[in-house]
């Protein structure tokens, strides 16, 4: 009996270890530079600086956005990821309006209309746009479009949902 229990325990431990390995691997498979390659980080940083300059919006980091949400600040949060991805989990209170990952120039009329519909009438409202991670361009397209439409208080959270998850903040599903 004791041997049987030992055998069972060994099998369960092996399964748990395998499950643990796969989830920690999963955590590191998506992001700006999953292998830690500095060249990719540099490229993403350059792209971000140029996009902010061109787009005319401001940046907010995950930690600060979390504080805004916790304090119950009135704001509009827009997730620009594809609907399938949004459905798997998003920043609390975020609405979904997909934007292209390339640039605003590639947005379809439907995408622009759906995004605009989430913004509301108050041009001075606090608006936060995010997407997947820093190297992703969807949130730039969204934030730049909001600025183009005349909204004055537009922020982009560059780290996106991956930074939010890596910070282990709560998600809405």
């Amino acid at each position: 009996m004791k041997r049987n229990l030992t055998l069972l325990f060994a099998v369960m431990t092996m399964i748990a270890l395998l499950a643990g390995c796969s989830s920690s691997e999963a955590l590191n498979t998506v992001g700006t530079s999953v292998d830690g390659n500095e060249v990719k980080i540099e490229a993403a940083a350059m792209k971000l600086v140029n996009a902010v300059e061109k787009g005319g919006y401001k940046l907010v980091k995950s930690e600060e956005l979390k504080t805004w949400i916790d304090e119950g600040n009135e704001m509009i949060v827009i997730d620009t990821m594809p609907a399938d991805f949004y459905g798997k989990g998003h920043i609390p209170t975020a609405k979904n309006a997909v934007m292209p990952k390339t640039s605003l120039a590639d947005a379809t009329d439907d995408e622009k209309a759906a995004f605009e519909a989430q913004l509301g009438d108050d041009k001075d409202a606090l608006i936060v746009v995010y997407c997947g991670f820093t190297a992703c361009g969807r949130s730039d397209a969204g934030a730049a479009y909001a600025v183009e439409l005349g909204y004055t208080n537009v922020y982009r959270q560059p780290g996106g949902i991956i930074a939010w998850r890596n910070a282990e903040y709560e998600e809405e599903k």
């Binding site: 009996m1 055998l7 530079s33 798997k88 990952k101 590639d106 009329d109």
Partner: protein, 168 residues
């Protein structure tokens, strides 16, 4: 002793059944891919192709970017973007931006109605959740239209929930 043998046999059976289940799933997906690939006329690029095979076929250095489903190669001059699975390094998505390559006989520049008819005739069903997206088996076909009249981009991609889980 008898109990021990039963436990070992039980565990072995479960492992064997799981292995058969996964092999069956992989076979089904390979068959489905091979059918769809017959309708992909994009240089010699096919779904499920490895990175190495892509380099051999296109002989051009692409821009590499990360995406939430893995990573992608952008062949700007060719008007082609290929999405790869991060776990197998094989193509999971083909995006056609040029006006020459075809997917299921559909070419950029055709009207949305023409494209829709081709896809419905091929057995695709409209996906209610995303506009201009169609589904068959484990494949999505998206027709992107900037102005809502003509096709500007074609996207064919393998549906695999496991890919979404990588970002969880």
């Amino acid at each position: 002793m008898k109990k021990r043998i039963s436990i070992v046999l039980g565990i072995s059976t479960v492992i064997l059944l799981l292995a058969v289940f996964f092999m069956q799933n992989n076979n089904d997906q390979s068959q489905s891919l091979s059918i769809h690939n017959q309708h992909i006329q994009v240089a010699s690029i096919k779904l499920g192709m490895s990175e190495q095979e892509v380099f051999e076929q296109l002989k051009v250095k692409p821009e590499e970017e990360m995406c939430v489903y893995g990573y992608e190669f952008n062949f700007k001059d060719e008007g082609l973007n290929l999405g790869f699975r991060v776990d197998t390094n094989t193509i999971r998505r083909i995006t056609v931006i040029n006006n020459t390559d075809t997917l299921y006989g559909i070419k950029n520049g055709m009207t949305l109605d023409e494209a829709k008819q081709v896809l419905l005739d091929a057995g695709f069903m409209s996906d209610e959740t995303v506009k201009n997206r169609y589904k068959i088996d484990d494949v999505y076909f998206t027709v992107v239209s900037k102005k809502g009249t003509h096709v500007d981009q074609l996207i064919i991609e393998i549906i695999d929930d496991k890919i979404l889980e990588y970002a969880q």
